[in-house]
């Protein structure tokens, strides 16, 4: 009999398993759509209609950054709460309830997106992950997202109930670090999702149902980014949690500083939300001053990331020295590079450093103009969510899967090859995306090849960049195949009694060194709310004042055939009118010249 998680919490292990498998299903779908769009965009293999590219892009985005990431993180958050508080959930039916709500929600959203591939129904939702108005999706899309987000809210309630119950029994204890990380992340998530809830429930869903005639696109965009930037931290904070509580243990040592880890999560709670406007630097309806405030807040967010880099590397060095590593850099050789859990997380962290630098470019108001809406941004988030988060999640899967299934990992060698292949593939792909963005190549475009115009590369050629992207995409797809082979192989294995214990890293400097005030969640939440009020009240009032709560009258997109015919007729009329005007002007000019010149 082992002391794995499934032996300690068999009922909770089932829920986590269900969340993981849901996450992996979404990863598989998202990966398929990823390679389709990579080959289409680069022109190597186009078997879909370019109009369907946007349906593919929506599916790729939503399945990966909503379903894959969030299903996975609710799994590890449940593990973190139950393990660190050493108690099962308060009510298992409630736990299955929020999982079910999330599953139903994402199914509705997924059906709405995938229905866009067929003309058999009038359901479609090719609105991309950002679902900006005036792009309009079928109500199912919005309804599904609402149910999914409400499911995550209930998940948070579940974890808070566990903490309250634990606190009643342990009134003088500090909150265990993993639980602290879950609770601060969820508080940030509750604040952040108010924006998207308002955008959907007050505007987009009633609009798609025909209850209101129009919306104010700038208002719904701003409410989206109220949620859209902090959602990045909702993906990232679980990855950080893994770097803090699992990576030091796998390295063979302890976490360098529990207090620093708490400071980092408090800073994320405070600073994640009042930054969203930095995605709207080129939106003309928002005053520059508000954008400057968002930029300042964003730059402060570098602090917790730099603190994390220091703490995590220090913890790894401690582990390496425990394993006999010596010298200024010689200790690096003593790290367990053969272990896919370690190698995957370390490579993900390395990629995240590069992502931090490209993120600073995005966040700077002036230099952002150079890369805004270009392929650079796509390269950036394939390093953040596509590698720092996704690669960390895949790497820790190799630790979690045996814990929640009770079965040995199918192949550690394949797992190591998988994480290394992901790193190499993403290097090729994201590097070319960044470089393409610097040339001005746009994002969200099915065919960025234009007649009579060529982007000029400073080094090499655009064709080489395309080849690099396609190569990267193929390597990433191969990496996914290896990942799923391992997941399926593990699931088919028999039950093992020889599994590692369920535990997380100890600390060199523990919670007793952290000021008590760090655990005052009410205080940090209040400060977070005040900062959000400062950052958003005036921009939102200004947007409503200028464009109205429900905006001016809008033409819905996508346009119907009738609308397209009207536009064609209008364009023809304008063209004829322009030609007539030019001819008249030319005649007049000729007459004038003839009169002036003898």
């Amino acid at each position: 009999m082992s002391n794995a998680y499934i032996d300690q919490f068999p009922a909770e292990a089932k829920v986590i398993r269900a969340a993981f498998y849901s996450s992996f299903f979404a990863l598989a779908l998202g990966g398929v759509f990823g390679i389709i769009q990579t080959l289409h965009r680069t022109g190597y293999y186009r078997f879909i209609d370019s109009a369907d590219y946007y349906t593919v892009l929506t599916a790729h985005g939503v399945f990966l950054v909503i379903s894959f990431t969030i299903f996975f993180l609710v799994g590890i958050f449940t593990w973190a709460i139950t393990t660190s508080l050493d108690r099962g959930v308060e009510d298992l039916r409630f736990t299955w309830g929020w999982y079910g709500l999330m599953a139903v929600g994402i199914t509705l959203t997924g059906v709405a997106i995938l229905a866009g591939f067929t003309d058999a129904t009038d359901i479609s939702a090719s609105v991309l992950f950002t679902f900006y108005a005036p792009l309009q999706a079928h109500p199912l899309f919005y309804l599904g997202l609402v149910l999914f987000v409400v499911g995550t809210w209930f998940a948070g309630v579940d974890w808070f109930r566990s903490w309250w119950a634990w606190k009643a029994e342990n009134p003088d204890e500090r909150i265990p670090l993993p639980a602290f990380m879950v609770l601060t992340t969820m508080l940030m998530w509750y604040i952040a999702t108010l924006g998207v809830a308002a955008a959907i429930l007050l505007f987009l869903l009633p609009w798609s149902l025909g209850l209101i005639e129009s919306v104010n696109p700038l208002l719904t965009r701003t409410l989206f980014w109220f949620f859209g930037h902090p959602v990045v931290y909702f993906w990232l904070m679980p990855a950080y949690m893994m770097w803090y509580v699992l990576l030091p243990k796998i390295s063979g040592g302890k976490l360098f500083s529990d207090p620093l880890a708490r400071v980092v999560f408090v800073l994320f709670l405070i600073l994640s939300v009042p930054t969203g406007i930095h995605h709207q630097y080129l939106d003309p309806g928002i005053a520059e001053g508000f954008k400057f405030i968002a930029m300042t807040n964003t730059m402060f967010l570098l602090l917790p990331s730099l603190l994390t880099a220091f703490t995590v590397v220090a913890s790894m060095e401690h582990g390496a020295r425990q394993r006999g590593g010596e010298g200024y850099l010689g200790w690096l050789k003593a790290l367990p590079w053969r272990d896919p859990v370690f190698a995957g997380m370390a490579l993900a962290g390395l990629m995240f450093a590069a992502a931090g630098f490209s993120g600073m470019i995005n966040a700077g108001m002036n230099i952002n103009y150079l890369v805004h809406n270009t392929f650079w941004v796509v390269g950036h988030f394939h390093l953040t969510v596509g590698t720092a988060v996704a690669l960390t999640f895949m790497a820790v899967t190799y630790w979690f899967l045996p814990q929640v299934t009770g079965k040995q990992l199918w192949s550690r060698s394949v797992a190591l090859g998988q994480v290394v292949l992901w790193f190499v593939g993403m290097t090729f792909m994201s590097n070319a995306m960044h470089r393409g963005g610097l040339l001005g190549i746009p994002r969200r475009t099915a065919e960025p090849q234009y007649d009579g115009f060529e982007f000029e590369a400073a080094v090499g050629s655009v064709a080489e960049l395309d080849a690099q992207i396609a190569l990267g995409g193929v390597l990433l797809t191969l990496s996914l195949v290896l990942f799923f082979a391992n997941v399926v192989g593990t699931a088919l294995n028999g039950r093992s009694d020889d599994l590692p214990d369920n535990s997380y890293a100890g600390t060199l400097s523990g919670p007793e060194d952290a000021p008590q005030i760090l655990d005052n969640l009410k205080l940090w939440t209040a400060i977070a709310v005040v900062l959000v009020i400062f950052a958003y009240t005036f921009p939102l009032l200004s947007i409503i004042d200028r464009g109205g709560l429900f905006g001016p009258e809008l033409v819905e997109l996508p346009l119907s055939t009738l609308d397209l015919e009207s536009i064609s007729a209008l364009a023809l009329a304008v063209e004829q009118s322009t030609i007539a005007t030019l001819e008249t002007t030319a005649d007049t000019a000729t007459a004038v010249i003839a009169g002036v010149i003898p």
């Binding site: 243990k249 796998i250 063979g252 394993r323 006999g324 590593g325 010596e326 010689g330 050789k333 003593a334 790290l335 367990p336 590079w337 053969r338 272990d339 859990v341 370690f342 190698a343 370390a346 490579l347 590069a354 630790w399 190591l416 090859g417 290394v420 790193f423 190499v424 290097t427 090729f428 590097n431 470089r435 400073a458 080094v459 090499g460 080489e464 690099q468 590692p500």
Partner: protein, 70 residues
Amino acid sequence: MRISKGGLLVVLALLAPLLVELRTVLAWVNVELSVLESAAIGLILVVAIFVWAFWPDNGNDGPTSDSSPR
């Protein structure tokens, strides 16, 4: 062997971003490499790393353990 097999794999992987950026860096000093030339340099570096990794270390293998405390 001077480095563990896992370590060697990761070192080879880290070569990818270095090679990809090498062309850009060299272009600053007016040295323009073609894809083929970059690949050739990559191959040479891979061979050099293999030679270094497998070259006997005077009997002092150092910490090359692959075992992790799991």
